[in-house]
């Protein structure tokens, strides 16, 4: 992450912004370097669609604006976009076969905000199909490989999920920053296991308009970046108040970069005891303790708190999210867009064949769970009960925040694992989100910050959780962890050998 124009792809977003404004490098030069890096990194499978020509054209436009002094917040900065954000005129797949060659006739609000600020789109990144997964292995376009490998093995590891392509792209220096979406941990978990920063904002902070829907009451877009400061810069532009999303909240977007600055003296950091789980690796526990010590050393006050319903969060999520998904994904019918199966006898057969062929195994499983828990006779036992649990989980946080300002937890129950290691048992995969999913159920902001390496050299993250719409304090605390951790590791570029 040096500020060397000779290796522009290793810059942070903030460094690149300065370099372009000072005309030390043009957007075209920078974009060209990323386009070449992406082509050399195809073994990682981080991108579903590369958009090099479009990127260079956007870069030229940005360079003209820089020359004329009209410089947007992200002018000329090359970004990668999770292929769940609709991009006008550029194929958007959600990593599913059922969308076929869907080319959106409209642009998502989040990406429109980025282009309006002058950013350059490098391409669309791989993900778990419809963002349903924690390892990027459910993608119809094949798994993404984690740029990181253990020091004692050449085995291919997963990059986490569902925003695995975005995470790999950021970690492998294939973009300055990327967008992700987070329904149960899909930004924070992949960021943690690729040694980078991932921020899930408060529900309602970023518009959901134009993002392929998974579970509408949980989905939230956010940045995946190299540093906490970069996350603050990205969020400022991604976030907006949008009349086209009825859940977009009417609160002005503050200057996160400014709010992020400053000491954390007196900040009350809660340590929730329920996040200490049986069987968690000792390295995770040790890092968590270290994180608390780092914050304490900078003047924070460490407070023990309790979130008593934590263990019910994952099962609650696996009722609420599939229920919403089964409803949202009803739109894929082979009639108005996407793939239509051949040889249908009648309209019902057309629906059933198109959906049976178009959806992958995990997506089908979740649609069936959702259909079941919403069906007559089971609604009260499952769905209504889960919604009550969700109220209790949110109350836990409200009570904890009476005695603290942010919470500190591990991001994941372990480091990146081998491709194929957890695909046999859905429950084992679901457990990857045990520390992140509570935040979505409560609608709160959460951030994962790279904090250390395992004994065999794999990154681990720490998660901070904030109060609703208090991303400023959250980022300030995250910066304190980042500075103390001083995580300067990057994966060896084995893929472009």
């Amino acid at each position: 992450m040096s500020d060397l124009a000779s290796d522009p792809i290793a810059m942070t977003l903030a460094q690149a912004r300065d370099a372009i404004r000072a005309k030390r490098i043009s957007s075209r030069e920078m974009t060209d370097a990323f386009v070449r890096a992406i082509a050399a990194a195809r073994p990682l499978n981080a991108f579903i669609t590369e958009a090099g020509d479009k990127a260079l054209a956007m870069a030229d436009t940005a360079d003209k604006r820089v020359a004329s002094g009209q410089i947007g917040a992200l002018e000329g900065l090359p970004l990668a976009i999770k292929d769940l954000f609709c991009t006008r005129g550029l194929r958007t797949t959600a990593a599913s076969n059922i969308l076929g060659d869907f080319v959106p006739p409209y642009e998502s609000t989040v990406t429109q905000n980025l282009w309006d600020a002058g950013a350059v789109m490098l391409g669309k990144t791989n993900l778990d199909e419809f963002a349903m997964g924690s390892s990027n292995e459910t993608s119809a376009f094949g798994p993404v490989l984690n740029p990181w490998r253990a020091s004692d093995s050449n085995a291919n590891l997963v990059p986490g999920g569902s925003s695995g392509g975005s995470a790999a792209a950021v970690a492998a220096d294939l973009c300055l920053a990327a967008t992700g979406t987070d329904t149960g941990g899909s930004i924070r978990q992949p960021a943690a296991v690729t040694g980078r920063v991932g921020l899930k904002p408060t529900y309602g902070r970023c518009s959901r308009f134009g993002i392929v829907a998974f579970a509408s009451s949980l989905d939230q877009a956010g940045p995946m970046t190299k540093t906490v400061k970069d996350a603050a810069i990205m969020l400022k532009t991604m976030a907006s108040v949008d009349p086209r999303d009825s859940t977009s909240v009417d609160i002005p977007v503050p200057d996160y970069e400014k709010l992020m600055e400053g000491p954390i003296k007196g900040l009350r950091v809660g340590i929730p005891k329920e996040y200490r789980i049986d069987g968690a690796p000792a390295e995770i526990e040790a890092l968590w303790g270290k994180g608390a010590d780092w914050l304490k050393a900078q003047g924070a006050e460490i407070v023990d708190v309790s979130l008593p319903h934590t263990k019910y969060a994952l099962p609650t999520y696996y009722i609420v999210a599939p229920a919403e998904a089964s409803s949202n994904l009803a739109r894929y019918d082979g009639v108005r867009f996407g793939v239509r199966a051949e040889g249908a006898r009648d309209i019902t057969d057309l629906y059933e064949r198109s959906r049976g062929q178009g959806f992958g195994a995990e997506v089908q499983r979740r649609i069936l769970i959702g259909t079941y828990v919403l069906s007559a006779g089971y609604y009260d036992a499952y769905y209504a009960r889960a919604q009550k649990l969700r109220t209790l989980i949110k109350r836990d946080f409200e009570q904890a925040f009476e005695t603290c300002d942010v919470l500190l937890t591990p991001s994941t129950p372990g480091p990146a694992f081998a491709v194929g290691a957890k695909t046999a048992d859905p429950l084992e995969m679901y457990l990857q989100d045990v520390f992140t999913v509570t935040v979505n159920l409560a609608g709160l902001p959460g951030i994962s910050v790279p904090a250390g390496l395992t004994a065999n050299g794999l990154p681990l993250g720490l998660q901070l959780i904030g109060k609703a719409f208090d991303e400023g304090t959250l980022l300030r605390a995250a910066r304190a962890v980042e500075e103390a951790a001083d995580f300067r590791h990057s994966p060896a570029r084995w893929w472009s050998a």
Binding site: T247, G338, Y372
Partner: protein, 95 residues
């Protein structure tokens, strides 16, 4: 409550997903594993707890009931697998 082959067939029908017969049994086993795990929610006393309807306290926004967009038939049809003259074509529905 355990899910059997016939239940999977029924919910697959409700979900309009063709699940091959050979997949019904394995799918039932997978779903049972998941439903057994979520059974733990039954141990929580939820008497008097309101179900969550909105995770962030905000009133749904109102707007004028006026046309704000439209006339996009070509764009709407652009991704249709089969269509003609701004109509989607499907197998015959009415005899």
């Amino acid at each position: 409550m355990s899910v059997d082959k016939d239940t999977v067939r029924r919910i697959a029908g409700l979900a309009r997903i063709a699940v091959p017969d050979a997949r019904l049994e394995p799918m039932a086993a997978e779903l049972n594993g998941i439903f057994q795990w979520v059974e733990m929610l039954g141990e929580v006393n939820v008497d008097g707890v309101p179900p969550m309807t909105s995770v962030v306290a905000q009133k749904l926004k109102w707007r004028q009931d006026v046309v704000s967009d439209g006339g996009q038939a070509d764009a709407l049809m652009a991704n249709a697998p089969q269509g003609e003259d701004h109509f989607f074509i499907v197998p015959k529905v009415v005899e």
